[in-house]
Amino acid sequence: MSRLGNIGARLYRGEVGYDFVGKRKFWYGISILITITAALGLAIQGLNFGIEFKGGAVFTTPKTSVSVAHVQEAAERVSGHDAIVQKLGNGGLRIQVSGLDTKKANAVKTDLAAGLNVPEQEINADLVGPSWGEQIANKAWTGLGIFMVLVVIYLAIAFEWRMAIAALIALVHDLTITVGVYALVGFEVTPGTVIGLLTILGYSLYDTVVVFDSLKESSKDITKQTRWTYSEVANRSINATLVRSINTTAVALMPVAGLLFIGGGFLGAGMLNDISLSLFVGLAAGAYSSIFIATPLVADLKELDPQMKALKKRVLAKRAAADAKGEPETGFAAEDAESLDMEHEDVAAVVGQRRSGARGRGKRR
């Protein structure tokens, strides 16, 4: 534990660290790749919508000894529609019949009760008209839109517009990844999924806001010094809050994992599972994007600012001068020369470290 504490201390001081901002092009690339994969998955596979969106019925029966295959055949014969039958943890069955409208569903329920030899009142029926899921989804989209506008306004006021934009891009990125995972893996999309997806909104931003808060603080008087560029300060902020980000994500994931593996597993597919699955995927994506995407984007946007450009020039000039005077290290000189070019901002990897040779092997988390 002390070791972990030490790493925290050194991350805080910038003694160790990973060059998130410097290597951002690599991570952007990864994210673009994931996004394209997600989009392709969505285009080719499409989403596997649950009956809430297609209309249909889900029946849950009490413990029964009738075989799954038998029930499926019976359910399809009775309803004239496709049926999916799953065995639940408690010995009951979950029978999902798509395309069944709410009016006919009752007859099917009665038949099922007779076939399974259980009293009809003990069968739970969840009957959904085809427009219900659509309505929920439409509301969800509206909510998403309103939330994004409000959050951009809020972040622009609390921080600045660049951070607001970066946070928004990171948010869209998280949602894309989550939806992409659903398309690729073929998880069922239910209203529970939509709930989970919408919750990611708040969560994805939580970590991002923590990093931004630290960045805002450490870049307060940035133009008054010539030691570091904005990107370097940004990277430092990520590293300084890394322990916090990892901890908050881990702590957030734990209850969700509990829901997903125990709560959901106990009952088979269900609301608990749907919400926690999309939360789980979204939280992981949110933690990734706040570190690898959001903050580097802010740095990129910020470096476009003339003030920051000027600062960068001063910082690099000073470094070059110091190197010329002192013991110029080959590696550093080369890096320095390169970084004078405005297009390439691959300056010293770890902030606060003059001897870049030693810094290169910053610790990955």
């Binding site: 504490g5 739970n124 909510g143 209850p255 106990f266 470290q353």
Partner: protein, 576 residues
């Protein structure tokens, strides 16, 4: 939710005085828990999906030609009509709520005859204008003789065959007799004079009619309209072409009514207006072309009749909502005056103008859950929550050691507040804990723990900068506070938008999430911070005991030098 807000202001000011903040949160907790016991709501009200029951979601449909039909007024009217219907079935605790701008949720707990409920809720309400034949008090008639007189009611039976014909004098006499049934003389005469007539009935069908009429009178005599009883609506299933018995919607009177002569669809519109001359609320109504002819006929005839047959009853779903007297023949428009308040006039106008349900609804989802499965799901949710909390606690203990004590205490305070608020909100605003809400509460464990982590890491950073604990705790606070507020605000914003915009199950989730986010702020400000301040004074934490989680050595604290020069070769190579 009022309590938390109250507390926030003083908390910020009471930074240096931890005792005050702690006292405040203690008072709040005692008040909430006390309120829980006082109001007797010791546990949160469970939603249908956890307690078992039937939940029906009705969605209003857009109809061609009525682009703006789905509005607040119409939805309110629909909700009240459906509510009347569902509770008319004698189903207790059924609740009808509007959700979103076009949905009505009907929750019928404990799976009480969900079949009947669905039928009742799903069918369109019916509105008829029927002539009044007899009026009586709400209670069942104590004696049977009245029923014996009933065969003479055949005229009313006849009128069912010919709806437009007015009741005969004979019929009137009998019904009047019925009305005075308790008085022995009137009953006797009625019974005596009528009895022999039955077999002599001229028409072949008369015996059938007579039998029906007899049944009707028997029904009328036995009818109990007293409110509070499970009164059925006998007229609900009656054919519009046949006479029927009915209760008033207030339950203070019962009626025998003739066949329907004007239907709800004949009404073009109705309005509640304040009559400036008389200074009273009246309801005006307009009829369609067809309706005005019918209405003219009925009013023309009724105005000639003595009491009580000069009334027509406005019957909604088998209940008489109003039985105005007719003074003259009326044409295409009419007004109803009486002891209306603005509210009652508006209600009647709504009922009249929308015929029945002002909108067409379709069932968009029906969920019936047995209590067994609901209980199982609740159990699974609770197990998941317990495991989630256990994992978080283990993580906190391993990582933060002594500090985790503060975190765990704070989580407990948070749990008490959440539980008591949820219990109290059940009766207060109809909050029901459903499965998504349980999910929200579990997910919120993470949010709450996040705040502690932000604060603890801040304190550790301060210690790393070489500060001793007490100044570190105070210096870390303003910065941690800002971070917590900003990120909690974002979470709350997400929850609030979700709650306002979405429908159905999403709302329960959003509500819980928003509530717990608010509580998180309260707990961190009023509990975590003050407790931290107090504990910083103890030897165990203040001196950075190895198990306190604040050991400067373990945290890698350095003498307070300028940050930039702190890069030392001593630690670095080891790590690299």
């Amino acid at each position: 939710m009022a309590a938390p807000k109250k507390g926030r202001g003083p908390a910020a000011r009471a930074q240096g005085k931890p005792g005050r903040a702690l006292a405040l949160i203690l008072i709040v907790m005692v008040a909430l828990v006390g309120g829980m016991f006082w109001s007797g709501s010791l546990s949160p009200r469970l939603g249908i999906d956890l307690a078992g029951g039937t939940s029906i979601t009705l969605s209003a449909e857009n109809e061609p030609g009525k682009p703006n039909a789905i509005n607040k007024t119409n939805m309110d009217t629909a909700v009240s009509i459906i509510e009347r219907r569902v509770n008319g079935m004698g189903v207790s605790e059924a609740e009808v709520q509007q959700q979103g701008d076009r949905n009505i949720i009907v929750n019928i707990p404990k799976a009480t005859d969900s079949e009947q409920a669905r039928k009742q809720v799903g069918t369109t309400a019916q509105l008829y204008f029927r002539p009044v034949l007899t009026v009586a008090g709400a209670a069942p008639l104590p004696q049977q003789p009245a029923a014996k007189g009933s065969p003479s009611a055949s005229p009313s039976g006849k009128s069912s065959a010919k709806p437009s014909s007015s009741p005969t004098t004979q019929g009137r006499a009998v019904t009047e007799g019925l009305e005075k049934a308790p008085s022995p003389t009137a009953t006797a005469t009625a019974a005596a004079s009528d009895k022999p007539k039955t077999p002599e009935s001229p028409k072949p069908s008369a015996s059938g009619d007579a039998a029906a009429a007899a049944a009707l009178d028997k029904q009328f005599a036995a009818l109990d309209c007293t409110p509070g009883k499970n009164r059925s609506n006998p007229a609900q299933h009656a054919k519009p072409t046949e006479p029927t018995v009915a209760c008033s919607s207030e339950g203070d009177a019962k009626y025998i009514l003739g066949p329907a002569e004007v239907e709800g669809t004949d009404v073009d519109g109705a309005k509640a207006v304040l009559d400036p001359q008389r200074g009273m609320w009246i309801v005006t109504m307009d009829f369609t072309d067809k309706g005005s002819k019918k209405f003219q006929t009925i009013t023309g005839r009724l105005s000639q009749q003595p009491e009580p047959q000069n009334q027509f009853a406005i019957v909604l779903d088998g209940e008489v909502v109003s039985a105005p007297r007719v003074n003259q023949a009326l044409g295409g428009s009419a007004e109803i005056s009486g002891n209306f308040t603005q509210e009652s006039a508006t209600e009647l106008a709504n009922i009249l103008s929308y015929g029945a349900l002002p909108l067409t609804f379709h069932e968009s989802s029906v969920t019936s859950v047995t209590a067994a499965l609901g209980g199982e799901q609740l159990q699974a949710g609770l197990i998941a929550g317990a495991i989630g909390i256990a994992l978080v606690v283990i993580y906190l203990v391993v990582y933060y050691r002594g500090l985790s004590l503060i975190a765990i205490l704070s989580l407990m305070v948070s749990a008490v507040l959440t539980y008591s608020l949820m219990s109290l909100l059940g009766p207060a605003i109809g909050f029901a804990l459903n499965l998504p809400a349980v999910c929200g509460a579990i997910v919120a464990i993470g949010i709450t723990a996040d705040s502690f982590i932000v604060y603890f890491e801040r304190i550790r950073d301060e210690i790393r900068d070489g500060r001793t604990l007490r100044p570190a705790v105070e210096r870390a606070w303003p910065r941690a506070r800002r971070t917590i507020l900003v990120s909690d605000f974002v979470s709350f914003l997400a929850a609030a938008v979700l709650f306002v915009v979405t429908v159905g199950k999403v709302q329960g989730f959003a509500f819980t999430l928003g509530l717990t986010t608010l509580l998180d702020v309260v707990v961190v400000f009023l509990f975590t911070k003050p407790v931290m301040t107090l504990l910083a004074r103890t030897k165990f934490f203040g001196n950075g005991h190895p198990w306190s989680g604040l050991d400067p050595k373990r945290l890698g604290a350095k003498p307070p030098l300028r940050r930039t020069r702190r890069v030392s070769a001593t630690i670095d190579p080891k790590e690299a």
